[in-house]
Symmetry: C2
Subunit: 397 residues, 2 copies
């Protein structure tokens, strides 16, 4: 047992909670914010103390922050994240790794690690994160939370630090299904596309990436939900292989993150935790020509995925290939998990589609999430689905 | 790994969710109800199939159920409980033991076991239970939830099966602090007594009942909360010993439950799971003279406790002496836990005072709660306190 006081929040946390409007749909609910969104008078650190040091205090709130306050939420903390959001592990060498309260000793997942940790600890009513390559979805799965990555572009990300603009999307976590849904109308801009869910497509190649017991649990869960879902069809989503898609994603992400932070990294030589310097060094070697090739692949993947995920069709897959790795496993183990995970997370990333993760149960006592990818603008349908499926959560232990 | 479909709910669950009012403070939030509250057209089973069989469908909703629906909540399930609410374990031999999703393989706690299990599984936004001798508080602690036992008499329990009327109180569970608080104004009748929290009394004898690591964690948590709480004083609450109080509680509880169910038990000879028949057999031997003596002791305890817990003073103690015992431990182990626990839970029971449990952290990966007993009518102050202290949850893992 070790006491790690409020390790989900950054050392440069708010001095006091920030109250929102007296009325509104989120009145009386508390929220924590990933330390990449501007909060007036505060500096956004992006998980790296050298970056933090170089920032002036924000002169206005990020759009998301302002909308939450206008809707009545109370901001109670700024949460730890992976450095420059460049990991799915949830490790931060400077601030400590936020606790995974649902699987102590294991990774919380990242990069929205502190937000997930706080929500899973019941320290807040909901938590804001961002998701470029899985940074809401993976911690949702690891920490047993509802989590959503929204349709790319539907939540205004202005006032947040960028990562890879082609993929960056706002997302959120909650413990409770009704609250999870309440955030949608507050943050989502148009266009919304309503449709009845008429088709369920199980992504066989994504299931094949998952541990056997993860896949089996997901299939049991789907079988139990027949009253709520259409009977499933099956498809391999990636004709060229999910690893090809993952690599295209990686190349574009590398090029874009380097364009945002490369100058800072070169000039300031910030102190990085294990793995981050290596990832930036690799990103620096990605040429525009490589990125252009990868964008051709992205275009093809996007067309393919969107042709299947038409309004009314859901794609279903495990959120993560496995339960959370042990926090004290080697960096190599964490890296190898990241590559596996990104074969699954790149589907929504490349296509810009929304994805919701539902805390369906546990394996060996560790949470695992079931994911649905919806159509463009189908975020509200995914949130409604999460509420409808909530009664099936906790089916296993 | 085993799949136990919706084990938190009874086999005679609702055929479909029951929607509440379109508007109201709980609109969009889902709730499950312990299977002891009347729901129109449904039979309340109290955890025992023979009792269930003998009941006609309810012709009206329990007051609590009606208030929740009027406030906009959606009822999504009826939850498993211990037979006739006569245990703190959360074991039910007929319907199965609801999963403790936060400590798989361990007891969920009872008697409001399914309600706690569903809330901890994120299967609902909040859950209704009842607490006579700890039936909300203990499962709150075991499952890592916010939980409240309300001031005796402040929530109308009409339309619910009785247990021991001198102690029976409605309570509820939630994962998220803002939702937890929202239920208060919906269910609490007067009189409410507002007061600033000016004094914090640590109950040394209650701490002494707890495992050393539980007591240590609670003390660390309190030390971290100095900004939110007055500096603590210390007191032994029970001059005659907590076991004397526990025994008085047990005698009165036995006499009262026998007066409610003794005739049914004698006449129908219902099939009971392990331990329940023995407890009823023991209850049958309690005479009115024994009960009268115990009531004298209760009166003394009540006066003593209320003299200390005046408006503005909080009593602090661990919610439970230990983390949840293993589910497959012997009945003797579960019984021995129950006796220890009731030395702590009888304080609020005998005095009729409200108690809130906060999911402060984990020990060996298993949740544990920190409790505050408030003054009569101080329920709202306890709910507000839970919200204020929520940011300290998850301090340990």
């Amino acid at each position: 047992m070790s006491v790690r006081i409020r390790s989900a929040v950054v050392p440069h946390d708010l001095k006091a909670p920030i109250s929102g409007a007296a009325d509104g749909p989120l009145a009386g609910l508390s929220v924590v914010i990933k330390d990449m969104f501007d909060i007036t008078g505060e500096r956004a650190g992006g998980g790296n103390p050298d970056w933090l040091k170089a920032q002036p205090p924000a002169t206005r709130n990020a759009v998301v922050v302002q909308k939450l306050l206008d809707a009545g939420a109370i901001i109670t903390g700024k949460t730890v994240c992976d450095e420059f959001f460049y990991s799915l592990a949830g490790v931060n060498a400077h601030y400590g790794t936020p606790v995974n309260p649902r699987a102590p000793g294991r990774l919380p997942g990242g990069s929205s690690s502190g937000s997930a940790s706080a929500a899973a600890s019941s320290a807040c009513d909901f938590a804001i994160g961002s998701d470029t390559g899985g940074s809401v979805r993976i911690p949702s799965s690891f920490c047993g939370l509802y989590g959503i990555r929204t349709t790319h572009g539907r939540v205004d990300i202005a006032g947040a630090m960028g990562m890879a603009h082609s993929f960056d999307a706002v997302g959120w976590f909650a413990n409770a299904p009704g609250i999870f849904r309440k955030i949608g109308p507050v943050l989502l801009d148009g266009p919304s596309t309503a449709a009845d869910i008429g088709k369920l497509m199980v992504l066989d190649d994504a299931f094949a990436e998952a541990d056997a017991e993860v896949a089996a649990l997901m299939k049991d869960a789907l079988a139990a939900m027949t009253a709520e879902l259409p009977s499933p069809s099956h498809q391999r989503i990636a004709p060229d292989g999910l690893d090809t898609w993952r690599e295209a994603f990686r190349v574009i992400q590398s090029r874009e993150i380097w364009s945002v932070y490369g100058d800072f990294v070169t000039r300031v030589k910030p102190h990085f935790g294990p793995g981050v310097a290596e990832r930036f060094a690799a990103a620096a070697t990605v040429t525009e020509e490589m990125a252009a090739q990868a964008r051709v692949m992205q275009e093809r993947a996007r067309d393919r995925i969107r042709a299947i995920a038409r309004p009314g069709t859901l794609l279903v897959l495990p959120t993560s290939p496995a339960i959370a790795p042990l926090a004290d496993a080697s960096n190599a183990v964490h890296e190898s998990f990241r590559i596996r995970a990104m074969r699954m997370t790149c589907i929504a990333g490349l296509s810009g589609l929304p994805q919701v993760s539902i805390p369906i149960g546990t394996i060996d006592g560790c949470p695992i999430g079931l994911s649905f990818i919806g159509w463009a603008g189908g975020d509200e349908a995914l949130l409604d689905l999460a509420v409808r499926l909530s009664r099936y959560c906790g089916m296993t232990a």
